[in-house]
Amino acid sequence: MRYILKKVLSMVLTLFVVSLCVFLAFSLIPGDPVTRMFGTEATPELIAQYREKMGLNDPILVRYFRWFVAFLQGDMGISYDYKIPVTGMLAEKIPITFTLAIMSFAIMVIISIPLGIYTAKYENGIIDHVISVINQIIMAIPPFFSGILLTFVFGVILRVFQPGGFVSYTVDFEKFLKYLILPAFAIALPKAAMATKLLRGSVIDEAGKDYTRTAYSRGNTTNGVLYRHVLKNAMIPVVTFMGMALADMVAGSIVIEQVFGIPGISRILLSSINNRDYPVVEAIIMGIAIIVLVINLLVDIIYRIINPRIEVES
């Protein structure tokens, strides 16, 4: 319990630091937000008036706390370009991106765990060699290219996938999920390849340790040793990897959404980066940062459950 409390505290602290960095970075870059908002219509009086109204003349730390408190209350500021609250702009998009990341994660887990165990169990067998070559190739294919290849195979050759046929979850949830399957595979494949390779190596490492000999000496079968003794130990590094992979998938969705024309946060993020619409960029980055931190916290908790040694190590 104390461990979890410690981790939560450290998460809050990191969030604080991250938010401060993000805020300072976007406040200190040249360019006045008011001028940015009004463009050529900006007159000195207008600028002075809005600077006062937006509190831009206050000390930077005051502005930071105002911004951070508002952010925690769900107020992410106003978009320079669209002049509407950022929260509203993102509210509909986040579930799309999040669903995509979760689906990718599920695919990675479903593929890599059985495959990693199998290739470790039959180490140096034909299938192990074939899979390790396939893994190496898959890891070299950038997700956006595998997305294009998947579109080509399933959309052009097999004609079972309708490119650009995205349906929002508010319209038809089933069709929404169906459309996301291919993009999720594009995101998941390289991670699944890495996880398979990692788990295979980890299982082989653990299988060579002394405690497996003890387990055999008690009359365990090979599968007994593998599933009751080795697997839990072997999963320890894999859990860490998968946590990082999930965080990567949230970010990786940004690219894949572009490939498949999915209207998630990607489009807004890119256009706001290109147009320097900073409140939107800040909000998205903070949003992803929070997601990443929460994922890390969950990983730490799961890690603690499967690895009792952690208190001694830290």
Binding site: R213, T214, H229, N233, P308, R309
Partner: protein, 266 residues
Amino acid sequence: MGNIILDVTDLHIEFHDHDLPETVVEDFDLMLEAGEIVGIVGESGSGKSMSALAIAGLLKRHALTKKGKIMFDGTDLLSCDRKTLRSYQGDEISMIFQEPMTSLNPVKKIGWQVEESLRIHHKEIDKKERKRRAIEMMEAVGLRDAEHVYNMYPHELSGGMRQRVMIAAAMIGEPKILIADEPTTALDVTIQAQIVNLLRQMNKDKGTAIIFISHDLSLIRQLCQRVIVMQKGNIVENGNVEDIFRKPQMGYTRKLIAAIPQINLS
């Protein structure tokens, strides 16, 4: 002649993981009576651990050839199928190892590991009874506050305590034979004596025969009636411990005896 429970004849073990086959055990014979303690002594690389692993059925099946017979309970452990072998492992023949630090699974609770043999071989025993026996066994090997230790993990215990846990786990099925492969080498001298005493007590209380492997003749002298001296895969002497101490036949044995003080000091 008492009741012979284990009869090893002409055991040969050969490795094949290099270009030339390498013989690690040759012409190994061992007869073990019920309730007896036999020592095997030799330098590292003398083949003593290999012989022990062969008896426990723990030699990996590839990259080596084994010849000879290991007769236990009317079965040849060397040629029987794996299922039969497994039915003896942990139930009739148990083993403890040199490194108590790494021989326990780091992510499983102590109790779970102590009970494992019962769980595998005696499915008829229910959970509650299993736990009762585990705690009883843990108390018998001198683990204080066994209820508490039951829920601990290996890293929370000292080396000596872990070796006691290993012994508890090995003894829970009340095996006929316990093979102890250098069980005290990794421990402090004071703990060594405690573990040796514990093994002697187990032998007396449960009637378990023990094959005690060590490079330390003084420990063997404390514990065993009979000793086998091995060198480079061969048995060079075999007989009563005191006889061998009084008039060793081989220069090698004399060297092992001469080495005792140094080992105890280190």
